[in-house]
């Protein structure tokens, strides 16, 4: 069963359009939402959360049409890149406030999370570091029995240790097979570690949504000279980019191509490299 399904979602602004966005997220998985700045990641999250009205399409949560004004929102935990609480409050007071925001609020679990993340309960949050603020947001999101976590750039500005801590928390959350995480991020190294699926948005469209392992197994990046490039560019879906005197060619069906061109060196691309090639590379079409 899919925990979240987005079909044909459209949102039109004057200068930007989210067009025909489709994706399905199975239960028990972490889906990474990637794309350059302005690709539509935040707009898509806002459409899912009902923070903007969509101009078309459907969004379902656990098989039911998602309605922002219903109890379904109890089951969705959200962490934005900035903490939505005033610096004068302490984590304990943030917990008290949440009693009024969520009917299923579990303060004991929240205090447990706070303790586990090493956050001081009675200090004002204005003195917290970025990593501590993120952990506080995640502690709150994990304390109202949410099944789906929507995270908008949760690791932006965090040091590698704090990011690693958060990734552990995410992996633990999806141990329960009825849970899921949709993680919008620029830091694709995090996704390499935890994501099961990757959805790539570019200029308001979904370029692909696939299991991360498929990307690793199927995509290949070739660094070659002019002669090989002329042959490789004819491959279906090839994307290329000139780097000084060399060419970089990304092949979506690279494993098969590798057998046809035994003389070339085929590497497994990182998510970053795939993203870069899709955004900056040239194609036959």
């Amino acid at each position: 069963m899919n925990i979240l399904e987005v079909s044909h979602v459209e949102k039109h602004y004057k200068r930007f359009q989210l067009r025909d966005v489709d994706m399905a997220m199975p239960q028990g998985c972490i889906m990474g939402l990637i794309g350059e700045n302005g690709a539509g990641k935040s707009t898509l999250l806002k459409c899912i959360l009902g923070l903007v009205r969509r101009d078309g399409g459907n969004i379902t949560f656990r098989g039911e049409e998602l309605n922002a004004d219903t109890a379904q929102m109890e089951e969705i935990g959200v962490v934005f890149d900035t903490l939505p609480f005033h610096g004068q409050l302490t984590p304990a007071q943030v917990g008290k406030l949440h009693k009024g925001l969520y009917k299923n609020w579990d303060n004991a679990r929240y205090l447990q999370n706070i303790k586990r993340f090493g956050l001081p309960e009675k200090e004002k949050i204005k003195g917290f570091s970025k990593g501590m603020l993120m952990k506080l947001g995640i502690a709150a999101a994990l304390s109202h029995n949410a099944r789906l976590l929507l995270l908008d750039e949760p690791t932006a500005g965090l040091d590698p240790i704090a990011r690693d801590d958060l990734m552990d928390i995410f992996l633990e959350f999806v141990q329960d097979e009825t849970h899921g995480i949709l993680l919008s991020t620029h830091i694709t190294a995090d996704l390499e570690r935890v994501a099961d699926y990757v959805t790539f948005l570019h200029e308001g469209r979904v370029l692909f949504t696939r299991p991360k392992d498929d990307l690793r197994d199927e995509f290949r990046l070739v660094h070659c000279g002019e002669a090989d490039f002329r042959k490789l560019r004819e491959e279906t879906g090839a994307i290329w980019r000139k780097q000084d005197t060399q060419y970089e060619v990304l092949l979506p069906d690279g494993a098969a191509a590798a057998r046809r061109y035994p003389g070339c060196q085929f590497d497994r691309p990182t998510i970053d490299e795939i993203m870069l090639m899709y955004v900056k590379g040239g194609t036959n079409s």
Partner: protein, 213 residues
């Protein structure tokens, strides 16, 4: 809703001393005439409401509230409740001062004070409605500017009303008797203000429902 009220109180806690001083000063000034300085306290309420919205905007709390179990209607309702709390707090000092004062100067002061307090309550609520509606529609920064325009419009409407009535009275009774201005001559502008406020009250819920973040 009580937790949202509590949150607004926690954010404003740092302003409590400032408010206390304002209330003490205005109450002391209104010791002889309770109605005199009540309007200052009514305007104070709008300042606090604007601050509440500014604090929410600063940390994107309005957006966050909209994705929790709190409905948009409840969020607006809480701000009206907050406005009512401020109004009651603003209306109480003149009444208390008048009660103390009446012990020494006669009971008629209590009636004056009750009327003054009721007026403060109404004026404060009218301003509260405008603040809430404008802040939801335009945000607290632009809302502040539009609120000033609203103040200017109210003054203009009242002045026009007074001038029109005085001119008519002058035309009708010139040379025959002294022109006496009655308070009920202001009915048209009071009606206009009340009607526009009711419209704003309704719009505040509609704007919140349609608000995109």
């Amino acid at each position: 809703m009580k937790y949202l009220l509590w949150k607004d109180y926690m954010m404003m806690r740092s302003m409590v001393w400032f408010l206390f001083i304002v209330y003490v000063v205005t109450s002391a000034m209104s010791f002889r005439e309770p109605a005199g300085m009540s309007s200052v306290e009514a305007v104070m309420g709008t300042t606090l409401l604007l601050s509440a919205f500014a604090y929410d905007e600063q940390c994107d709390f309005m957006k966050y509230a909209c994705i929790t179990s709190v409905s948009r209607r409840q969020y607006v309702g809480e701000k009206y409740l907050l406005s009512l709390c401020y109004s009651v707090i603003a209306a109480l000092p003149p009444l208390i001062i008048a009660c103390i004062s009446s012990l020494f100067n006669g009971w008629d002061r209590i009636i004056n004070a009750a009327v003054a307090s009721a007026l403060v309550l109404v004026i404060s609520q009218i301003l509260g409605v405008w603040v809430i509606a404008l802040c939801i529609r335009f945000g607290s920064q632009k809302g502040r500017i539009y609120l000033l325009l609203f103040y200017a419009a109210v003054i203009l409407v009242v002045l026009l009303n007074v001038v029109a009535v005085r001119y008519r009275l002058f035309q009708e009774k010139a040379g025959t008797e002294e022109v006496v201005f009655q308070w009920w001559y202001l009915f048209p502008c009071v009606g206009a203000i009340l009607a526009s406020t009711i419209l704003m009250l309704q719009r505040s819920f509609v704007w919140m429902k349609k608000k995109e973040f």
